[in-house]
Amino acid sequence: MTGLLILLVAVAVAAIAAWGVSKKNGRFATVAGPERLGVREIGVALGERATLVQFSSAFCAPCRATRVLLTDIAEKVDGVVTVDIDAEEHLELVRRLNILRTPTVLVLDADGAVVTRASGLPRREQVLAALGSAVADR
């Protein structure tokens, strides 16, 4: 029956898309390239060991959860600061860094170089592992 076949295709498409999006969220990927941010771009002084830069936008429910998580991590880990940047008010930065989605989290090392980044709401262990790679590179 045609309808049943189409139902199965629709469920399969939705399942694949849901799996793909879930895997992508919070997956930190190493960044190649010389992007470096400083207090002029992000508005706060860099952390001694690392900086977590989050790009947010309006109507973004996961952005709030991400900010809460990053703030908590920055409080608990020495030498790490976090800053939340409104994408719509920093469009030149968004273009320069190729920010396609919010939330996007960039991990900067002590010199402000972008080491790794992820989009979507990350889990705590994903952020901690990403911080580890930014700090270990020194």
Binding site: G3, I6, A10, V11, A14, A15, F59, A61
Partner: protein, 150 residues
């Protein structure tokens, strides 16, 4: 609870949206497998629900009322609320797809009817499963393209 005032946009409980998406998914799945005329009748009901949510507000949708009366008392207040405008626009998108499907079925163009229903079903499934609201994303894209007063 939600707050409405002339200056602050209306807010909604995300969990109600997920429940509504789950019910919608079941309804649209049934539409795909039921024979006529049950399929057109059920689809017309879904079109009605989308229309109420899009034009009268999310809180007036029968699915939201079900959530508020049956489910929310059992799970307590939400931790946070969300702006209602993107999901309300998403209901409008759902209305368009299902209205097209209904007209197609009634006009005998069953393939168009199946495809349009399937699109709406995929969107509802994504919303119900991982909270991804495609209509909301479309709202954001459109909003970015027309920078009127905030």
């Amino acid at each position: 609870m939600s707050s409405t005032s002339r200056y602050a946009p209306s807010q909604v409980d995300r969990r109600g949206l997920r429940v509504a998406a789950a019910i919608t998914s079941i309804v649209l799945a049934l539409v795909l497998v039921l024979p006529s005329p049950a399929r057109e009748i059920l689809l017309a009901v879904q079109v009605g629900v989308f229309a109420i949510a899009a034009f009268a507000g999310l809180k007036r949708s029968p699915y939201s009322i079900f959530f508020a009366k049956v489910i929310r008392p059992r799970i307590g207040a939400p931790a946070e609320l969300e702006d209602a405008r993107p999901p309300r626009f998403a209901q409008l998108v759902g209305l368009v797809f299902t209205a097209v499907a209904l007209i197609a079925f009634l006009a005998g163009a069953t393939t168009v009817g199946f495809v349009a229903t399937a699109f709406a079903l995929v969107a509802a499934l994504l919303n119900a499963s991982i909270g991804l609201c495609l209509g909301c994303e479309l709202y954001l894209v459109l909003r970015r393209l027309t920078p009127a007063s905030a």
